[in-house]
Amino acid sequence: MRQHVGLQTLSALSGITTQFLGPTKTYKIIQDDATGESALVSSCYRVLENLELTCAVGQLVYETVGAHHRIYKTGSGCLLFMAGAWSRVALECLHRGIPIAHIISAMSEGMDICLSVCKLCSIPNKELYSTPKAQPNESIVKDSASHQLSSNKNQRKLKLSRHFQQPNCENISMIPNLNSENQNLTAIARTLSHGYSEAMDLVIKASQIQSEKDLTFDIDKISTCLLPCSAEIWNCVLPGCIVPVCPEKALIARNLEKQDLKVALIDGHLTSTYRHLGYNKPKRLQHVSEVSSSDNHEEEWLERIVRLILNLEVNLLLISGIADGKLKDHFWKHNILVVEKMKLSVLKTFAMSTGAILVSYATQLNSKCIGTGVTVNIWKDLSNFANKSNHESFLNLSTIEKGGLVTVVLSSWIQGKLQSEEDAFLACAYRLHWALKDKSLLPGAGVTEMYCIHQLQKQALLYASGHKSVPPINPGTAAGPYTGVVLQLMADGFIDFVMNVMVNTGKYSKVQARTVVVEQLHGLDGSVNSAKMDQMRLKDHQMDSHYGESMICDNLTLKQEAWRKALDLVFLILQTDAEIITGVDQKQLEQRDLIIL
């Protein structure tokens, strides 16, 4: 039992994430020796996605990280790192002979401490943009009475932010002149860029296109368009959506430019043989007739559809599937633009903003199904480029009314980098989304973790000093005799995290990082030693003088969920003592040391 393979595997797996913590990301190349294919990755989730994890723990980790990524798009690195750190805590506890039930109850208590720390040091969004941002207010810093954990205002001053790359000042000037209202969202967004200031600029622009009202940001209506083999200067944000089309269609689009178009939306294929999902074509249907006539069913259908569309005066047809070739020829003649393979979610957004009704068959269309207020223009004509595909032009479809769809165009000369660029953008977008949803933020750059370490150590000391009657944070969990030890070990896990982030910035060696962390922790003891903090700040200013001083924040729910999920993983694996493999064949049995039932 003292050699828990599952926990060791988890600890080893978490090693892949150490390089990805913090704002300075390094790329990794994953190569498949069998096929010679390789992938360029810069996040923990993408590494796991590209690895073939067959062991049960690996699967479980991938499942957990995947679920987290689906909702938050960021923070998987933190999740896996903490899972690794805490699996080492559990291993150490097992090594010391602490029973599993005690480890679990003590670690749960540790988690409760950390969550209450988050609650205490969270900063309401309002406070973030109502005060002048992050100018250290010396009078507050020196007031030792206000250095209690419960005081929100001061936490923001106690930051390790100097270790991190600050948003580049140049980028800020790129943003078109904002009214003061819009500054609110921008202020929040800036604190969350975590080293991706360019990506965050795109997010801010997208939110501005979406709505003039501040503090609204609809993540569901943002789509990305990846442009391989082009310069990164093409990165931009556009209202509406971007679709690649062939030159013939570009020609129709050119004729339709600057017009208020009538649009019809079809979810399905526009062919005579298409039937809706769930329709079973009759298998045993026999047609009999006296005269042998040629099958003109399709012709009839074609004629009918063309007539219908012309009658309805539709200029633009957006289809989730494909359209019949002959039908497209007819439409071309009548200057009607058909765009195929549209995403269903995009069609739905168009339905909402144009008043069109999404139908399955063209025959369903009537005047009530037609939407208005769509414009099309040719965004980019790539016909000069030697592009192998016949999609040489990009159309921008947008609605006249604001608040609809926004497309972010991401481009790179290096195709392998595109995925990472999209990930970075989505990470920023989701951070802003969750910040607005949470209505509050956490002090970032390791500050929250430092408070957790501090509180964990404080509680651990209380237990260690023999107070049998230490009031547990959560009265539901019974404090065992080992709780102090476990809490101390959990704090060490956080120290590991903060150190790793610092080392990744490239400005600290491991030893230096530890010194800084220990110094800061001393500072947090009771009241903060403000002189020391100032000293640190000063030293830092010299190092990062070319960066603007600004605050760094983390997402509240995201961080809490990442920690909880990490601990869940550890608990599940800690309590597991056997793997049951089903459907193993004889050969595998011989290779591996398995017990057969």
């Binding site: 999902l277 009759p282 047609h287 909402m352 009704i357 399955s360 003592d577 039932l597």
Partner: protein
């Protein structure tokens, strides 16, 4: 081209219980089940080795079906336990461990198998008749006037599933929801035959457990409400119709045979016309909610929505029954006519959102016994286990309607039963004539006592399996309940460490005498105790589990040959 292959001869195994391979497999199975047992049981990761989903569990419902063996003998035992679980949900591991212990005890003793079988059978009868007695000291009557018993029963089930990874507060929350759901599904003040309702469970991944909740009525997941639902509907009574026939506009339900049609005729158009006639009819009849078990043709959907009707398609077979119960509608299975009594009603339709899921809430017009349990948990693995645990708990609560009893949990009733049997056996042995046992079991009295001791030890070994943290199990020699002494405590510190017995009904008393579990003690008649227990087990499931375990063990002891057709 068919090819004839020579048939392989059947494989025959003589006396399976003497076969070392089978014996070692039995041992592994027993260890496996024991390690999963109870609130601190160890979890198992089940996966298929080619990258399929990993299931983490300690629940017999999930575990046993995956443990298929190459040995028919093992599968015989496994199947028998699975049958028990499918009927009673609970006490699967209990039955498994007890059965395997009984087999092991019979093997270890030098007694003839038929003696063991007869004694086992006799003692099983003794146990069941004792458990059925009015004055049985290890059961309590479920009091429906208070929720205490029901909550403790449900709590026992949920808390014994560590793979749910729940805190105590979360366990309590879920327990309360389940009891509430159970009470909602028992209709009250209804004349005629009482029909129990149903709890429909919807799992939502990614939300905290404390967000789990229960609603009277039904919640239906709908893919895109935003597009179709114009406003909330709550104008008193909404006329409802349910179709079980497919309204997709195809001929899929006509069955076998070929249809011959004239060339000029378009079957699709004809069917669509028929569908639209239905549409006209329901619009005329002022239907507001139109549901179909299967697919609805988009044209019909468009027509209905245009007339302000809420359309729900693809209900599925599982939701059909609850929807019928809720609305009181008679499902329509044809496209030709709608009888007037087909219509049902709902009070209102509202929209609710849980995480990313948007749901339609159908509120019944009167009190119906249908409710929807929304279960939330942080990840899929734990949510799946929680779902299983909740189903189990619901079943356990339902069983109380059949037998209005619960037995003391946490191993207390097993130790109690063992003490009771020891007392009975020795009492009989000392008072009655030797001839009696000899004629009954065809053995000497000492053999009878030996076999009975094996039976009692098996019962106690189930209790012992509850401990996974190295503590020692004790029993008090007054009530014969189960106590645990933590690892680092000595017997001198008992007064400090032992507060209550494991099920929580017996309080520590200085005067009690103690014995470690599975050590010999002088027989005594275990005394009854009154008070409220913290841990209760399902009476019905336990009695049946006991029977299944003993009968399966007896059957296994009976097997002489295993003949396997290897073709």
């Amino acid at each position: 081209m068919s090819r004839l292959e020579k048939k392989q001869p059947a494989r025959c195994t003589d006396l399976p219980l003497k076969n070392a391979d089978i014996c070692s497999k039995l041992k592994i199975l027993k260890q496996l089940l024991k390690s999963c047992y109870g609130p601190t049981g160890r979890l198992k990761q089940i996966h298929n080795n080619i990258g399929g989903q990993v299931v983490t569990t300690s629940t017999s419902v999930v575990l046993l079906p995956t443990l298929s063996s190459t040995e028919p003998f093992i599968n015989l035992i496994r199947t028998s336990i699975i049958n028990h679980i499918s009927r009673f949900s609970d006490c699967g591991l209990f039955a498994g461990i007890l059965c395997l212990s009984l087999i092991e005890e019979a093997q270890l003793s030098s007694l003839r198998k038929d003696v063991c079988q007869k004694v086992n059978k006799y003692l099983l009868g003794l146990c069941t008749s004792y458990l059925q007695q009015e004055d049985c000291a290890c059961k309590v009557k479920v009091d429906f006037n208070s929720s205490h018993c029901l909550i403790r029963l449900a709590h026992g089930v949920i808390s014994s599933k560590p793979a749910c990874v729940l805190r105590e507060s979360e366990i309590l929350h879920i327990t309360r929801l389940i009891v509430q759901g159970f009470l909602l599904t028992v209709p009250c003040d209804k004349p005629g035959a009482v029909k129990l309702g149903r709890i429909v469970t919807l799992a939502v991944e990614g939300l905290p457990v404390m967000d789990s909740t229960i609603f009277p009525g039904l919640l239906l997941e709908t893919p895109d409400l935003s597009l179709h639902l114009t406003g909330l509907l709550n104008c008193g009574q909404l006329r409802t119709i349910i179709f079980t026939a497919s309204l997709a506009g195809d001929l899929s339900e006509l069955g076998e045979g070929t249809i011959v049609v004239h060339k000029g005729m378009d079957v699709e158009v004809q069917i669509l016309d028929q569908l639209l006639k239905i549409g006209e009819k329901v619009v005329k009849d002022e239907v507001k909610l139109f549901m179909c078990q299967k697919v609805i043709h988009p044209v019909l959907q468009q027509y209905l929505r245009y007339h302000g009707i809420v359309v729900i398609e693809r209900l599925g077979i599982n939701l059909l029954e609850p929807v019928i119960q809720l609305t009181g509608a008679q499902p329509v299975a044809t496209l030709h006519s709608i009888p007037p009594r087909a219509y049902g009603k709902v009070k209102e339709i509202t929209i609710r959102q849980f995480g990313s899921k948007i749901m339609l809430h159908l509120v019944p017009t009167e009190e119906t016994a249908i409710c929807t349990l929304i279960l939330c948990h942080r990840n899929e693995t734990m949510l799946n286990e929680l779902k299983v645990a909740c189903e189990k708990a619901q079943h356990v609560l339902r069983l109380t309607l059949r037998d209005q009893f619960a037995v003391y949990g946490a191993g207390c009733s097993e130790t109690h039963l063992a003490a009771y049997i020891r007392y009975k056996v020795n009492f009989k042995a000392s008072k009655t004539i030797d001839l009696d046992t000899a004629t009954m079991f065809g053995c000497m009295q000492t053999e009878y006592v030996l076999a009975a001791e094996g039976f009692c030890r098996s019962l106690e070994s189930v209790t012992a399996a509850l401990d996974h943290n190295g503590g020692s199990s004790l029993i008090d020699l007054t009530h014969a309940h189960h106590w645990t002494l933590p690892t680092d405590m000595t017997t001198d510190e008992m007064d400090r460490t032992l507060g209550l017995c494991r099920c929580g009904v017996v309080q520590y008393c200085k005067d009690y005498k103690w014995s470690f579990l599975n050590t010999k003690y002088t027989e005594f008649s275990p005394a009854a105790v009154s008070g409220e227990a913290d841990v209760l087990d399902s009476f019905t499931a336990k009695v049946n589990g006991l029977q299944v375990a003993v009968e399966t063990a007896n059957l296994a002891l009976d097997v002489q040959y295993i003949i396997q057709d290897t073709n």
